[in-house]
């Protein structure tokens, strides 16, 4: 009998929690440390990999993703040892995708060749903006020229390089963004992540926003216009959205991230890392303590949480409907033991928000900009 996760695949996520500086918009688990004992961290990762492999013997690893934090600040030999350990403990796919997130600074660029030698075959670069003023506002420590230079080195080193931009920035007009996006598309190889700036509570931006000091952010209408414009322009350039914020030429999608959105299983290793693992037929949510020191020295995993069928079905839907391809209702029904109310599907279709083809449902271009509303309707019962 096949298990649900097999529809999505199996990957490993490694979280490196350190950054050179904390960005004001970032709510990821990242920390600035003066000294890092790289050997100790290597040993800890390797030990966790061994334990995870014991629980999931024989599974084929399709992807590895080094996220953070700023994993491009990891010592290349640590990255290499982790990749070797994964290859040692599990069978791996011939075309295993190994992505590393990188900041576009000169320090990082010098290490790209070493990362490649260690096994990394894809870079995801956090460029965020292509002009210095906006980079400063976003609290980034690199300049636009540095970013372009680092990107050039990366594309000479790796076949697959993606980069991130943040839009909907303070005082950014629709025309500003259009011209910057077109520049980005001429730089891009085959993958781009384009995120609308989100003000998260508990970040520096969150505090400033609450204090009414973050002026010039787009209102709902301008945000919607920017979102639609982004999708239209990217599609014209042959890089259509395959997910809410991710664009790629055909075949160049991030296969690791597709595991999340297709609700596969993934091992999460490192401070604050989450995982989904199906063990003896039961899917668990795994989570690690977020504090780096605590993770390194005391506790590497919190107790697993068993997910009910309903929890799984909800996660499957909320992750899957982000994809342009949509989801298979049969999986939702198998997980939850119930079906989505036909009236809800009909209403959403009539409103032009949802497409239904046989057992597959997906959000329309109109529906994707209000995906949270669509999900609230679908999950309301």
């Amino acid at each position: 009998m096949t298990e649900d996760w097999q529809n999505g695949g199996f990957g490993i996520y490694i979280h490196w929690p350190f950054c050179a500086a904390k960005c004001p918009y970032c709510d990821f688990n990242s920390h600035v440390a003066r000294t890092i004992d790289h050997a100790a961290w290597r040993n800890a990762y390797l030990e966790e990999i061994r334990k995870a492999a014991e629980q999931t013997p024989g599974r084929i690893v399709h992807t590895v993703f080094f996220g953070g934090g700023t994993p491009s600040l990891m010592e290349p030999w640590v990255v290499a040892d982790i990749i070797d350990a994964i290859r040692k403990h599990w069978p791996t796919a011939n075309d295993m995708e190994i992505t590393l997130e990188a900041n576009p600074g000169s320090v990082e660029a010098q290490r790209f060749a070493d990362f490649r030698a260690g096994g990394v075959n894809r870079i995801s670069m956090g460029i965020q903006a292509l002009n210095d003023e906006d980079l400063r506002r976003l609290g980034r420590i690199h300049s636009a020229d540095e970013a372009r230079a680092a990107f050039d080195i990366a594309r000479k080193t790796f076949d697959r390089v993606s980069f991130d931009l943040i839009y909907g920035r303070q005082k950014q007009t629709l025309a500003d963004w259009e011209s910057e996006l077109k520049q980005a598309l001429t730089m891009a190889i085959d993958h781009l992540s384009l995120y609308q700036l989100t003000i998260e509570q508990g970040t520096a931006f969150g505090d400033r926003y609450n204090a009414g000091k973050l002026a010039g952010l787009p209102d709902e209408d301008r945000a919607a216009d920017m979102f639609t414009l982004t999708r239209d322009i990217c599609a014209d350039f042959g890089m259509p959205a395959y997910e809410v914020s991710n664009h790629a030429r055909d075949g160049a999608q991030s296969r690791h991230n597709l595991i999340y959105w297709r609700y596969g299983d993934y091992v999460g290793i490192g401070p604050g890392a989450h995982g989904r693992l199906t063990l003896n037929g039961q899917r668990f949510a795994t989570e690690a303590p977020t504090n780096p020191k605590r993770w390194l020295e005391e506790l590497r995993q919190l107790p697993n949480v068993a997910l009910t069928g309903e929890d799984q079905a909800n996660e499957f839907l909320l992750m899957g409907l982000r994809l342009t391809d949509g989801v298979d209702l049969a999986r939702f029904e198998a997980l939850s033991g119930r079906s989505v109310a036909p009236d809800t599907l009909k209403n959403l279709s009539e409103l032009g928000l949802l497409d239904q083809r046989g057992r597959n449902i997906s959000v329309t271009e109109q529906g994707v900009s209000v995906l949270n509303g669509v999900l609230r309707e679908l999950l309301a019962d």
């Binding site: 929890d311 909800n314 995906l371 509303g373 309707e377």
Partner: protein
């Protein structure tokens, strides 16, 4: 046993915030009635809501022992009365149980509307009145001016007014001496048949109904069999006592005394306030009694979570046990499901009951638009009372409608007089009187109650920056051109938002209502027309545009749990909204939509 000559029964009348409860506290404290360690502010305001809002809702009573400067021991019975207009009936009946009043006026503020309303009740009850100028410790105190104002506006002699700071204790001793020497002793006959006045009653879960009585003649003892004259019921008295302010059991109560009895009575409604109490098998001339308080403001109370309907019924039953002025009947609304149509003495009463249900019984409520009682005269000559605009009969069978009017008294510094007059005119008021007392104007208006029930008081406070005071009394019913205005959201009528309005004000109210709703209803994934209509005719319309953007930018493996929990929370939030067709309306919309900005 205290001789009649050494008993004084009194109440304190004051405008809200003029220091009545603080003065009561100080009288209790300075006579060692309560040990200092047990003293807490506003001793007599027992309910949390009373202490929080700084108001007194139920009349409370305390017995104070006082040795006067002449060396003789006196018993002083204080009945602390509510200050708010909604509870005027409580004031009026407690006044009948005592012989004198302390009139407390804030020496920095002067006479206010509630001072007037309450002092006239004291005068009606033939009280001797001792004026007290409070808050003399404040720099803004102006005793001479306020004393003059008391003489001008109220018409009583204020030359002997006592200057007090209840906060610091100045003048407390003089006040106690004045109670002894300037207020009359009660009259009564020890050897006559028992005759007592039922002043108040409330339910206690351990003792059953507690009955507060004032003995006129005779003596009430533990073990007596007593009869309530109005319904002839007989009860065996199992406990007699006084409040200090905690209950203290004693053996008997004689003429002029105030205390309580318990007699295993199950329901407050078996004890009619104002009733005459005597011994079984005795016949006495009954006391005049009191007019029962009539609810004047009605609204629907519905549980947010419809599964809590039975809990709500339970809560309302229990509250009604102690509050005979609060009426209720079951109501079904297409929009809100099962709930209760409740009648209140006024808006504060409404808010207090609503707060108590939400707080003491932990039930979240949707409150519908407050409405007054209309008289609907039918073509066939009959009349029916309309408590709920949703029940308005078809116009083809209606001849005309009458609405309740009030006489409103407003005291306001003359700087704000223009704003107050404009507000009253805008609310269809007819000016009855306008006089000046110093730099303050006293304005008397005849107003429709329905223009006042919702937010008149809030508006009055805001246009006068809090300097106006307001009181009112119902005067009667009057015919006017009233219509029912319905509200349609996404073409579905929302019964809970329908209201009675004057025809000339309908467009304005309708426009304000649909504009408010447009802000209160969250955007949906489709556009929503919001309309106000009279009969089939739309008088105001707004369109709430569809939601354009609500999507999470980043959602990866580490976000699944958080996002799922967020959606679960939003689903729970959605359950708190009410669905009208396809539209979810948040509960606060029901009350907020009715607040007018002008």
């Amino acid at each position: 046993m205290t001789p009649l000559s050494h008993i004084r029964n009194f109440s304190i009348v004051a405008h809200i915030d003029h220091g009545k409860s603080t003065l009561a506290d100080r009288l209790i404290q300075s006579t060692n009635t309560v040990a200092d360690r047990d003293m807490k502010a506003q001793m007599l305001d027992a309910m949390d809501i009373e202490r929080e809002r700084g108001i007194t809702i139920k009349a409370n009573t305390v017995r104070i022992d006082y040795v006067a400067d002449n060396g003789e021991a006196y018993v002083l019975n204080l009945i602390d009365t509510p200050g708010h207009v909604d509870f005027a009936y409580e004031v009026s009946r407690s006044m009948r149980a005592v012989e004198g009043s302390l009139l407390v006026v804030d020496s920095t503020q002067g006479v206010e509307a509630q001072t007037l309303a309450n002092v006239y009740q004291a005068i009606d009850a033939d009280h001797d009145i001792v004026p007290i100028l409070n808050k003399i410790d404040l720099p803004a105190a102006d005793c001479d001016r306020v004393a003059e104002q008391i003489e001008d506006v109220i018409g009583i002699d204020a030359s002997g007014a006592i200057r007090v700071s209840a906060k610091t204790g100045i003048g407390i001793h003089e006040t106690l001496e004045a109670i002894v020497h300037h207020l009359p002793a009660p009259k009564g006959e020890e050897n006559a048949d028992l005759k007592a006045m039922l002043v108040d009653s409330w339910y206690d879960s351990y003792l059953g109904v507690i009955v507060l009585v004032r003995i006129i003649d005779g003596r009430l003892k533990k073990g007596d069999r007593v009869k309530f004259v109005s319904n002839g019921t007989v009860h065996h008295v199992d406990r007699i006592g006084v409040f200090r302010p905690q209950m203290q059991v004693i053996d008997s109560l004689g003429p002029g005394e105030i205390g309580f009895l318990t007699a295993s009575i199950k329901q407050v409604r078996d004890t009619r306030v104002g009733d005459t109490v005597t011994h079984d098998k005795k016949t006495v001339t009954p006391l005049p009694g009191f007019k029962p308080a009539q609810p004047v403001v009605f609204c629907g109370l519905f549980p947010v979570d419809s599964s809590e309907f039975e809990d709500l019924r339970d809560a309302i039953d229990k509250l009604a046990l102690n509050d005979a002025s609060f009426s209720f009947e079951m109501e079904t609304s297409a929009a809100l499901g099962f709930g209760f149509r409740c009648g209140f003495l006024g808006l504060l009463h409404l808010e207090v009951i609503r707060d108590r249900i939400e707080r003491e019984y932990d039930i979240e409520l949707i409150t519908t638009a407050p409405s007054v009682v209309y008289h609907v005269y039918m073509r066939d000559g009959s009349m029916q009372e309309l408590h709920n605009p949703a029940d308005m009969p078809d116009l083809s069978v209606v001849d005309h409608l009458e609405e309740p009017r009030i006489k409103a008294t407003i005291l306001v510094p003359d700087d704000y007089l223009g704003d107050v007059l404009k507000l009253c005119q805008d609310r269809r008021g007819v000016q009855l009187d306008l006089t000046y007392a110093g730099s303050r104007a006293m304005v008397v208006y005849d107003l429709p109650l329905n223009e006042v029930v919702f937010d008149f008081y809030d508006r009055l406070k805001s246009v006068t920056k809090g300097y106006a005071s307001f009181d009112y009394q119902l005067t009667g019913y009057q015919t006017d051109n009233l219509v029912k205005m319905s509200v349609l959201v996404n073409d579905e009528p929302v019964d809970a938002l329908s209201m009675m309005v004057h025809r000339d004000r309908a467009e304005m109210r309708g426009r304000a209502m649909v504009e408010k709703l447009k802000d209160l209803i969250p955007r949906h994934m489709f556009k929503i027309p919001i309309q106000a209509a009279i009969g089939g005719k739309v008088i105001a319309r707004e369109t709430l545009s569809a939601m354009r953007k609500d999507v999470t930018a980043k959602c990866y493996g580490g976000d699944a749990t958080r996002k799922r929990k967020l959606l679960d929370k939003q689903k729970a939030g959605k359950k708190k909204m009410r669905q009208f067709g396809k539209v979810d309306i948040p509960q606060e919309a029901f009350i907020s939509a009715l607040k007018m900005d002008s």
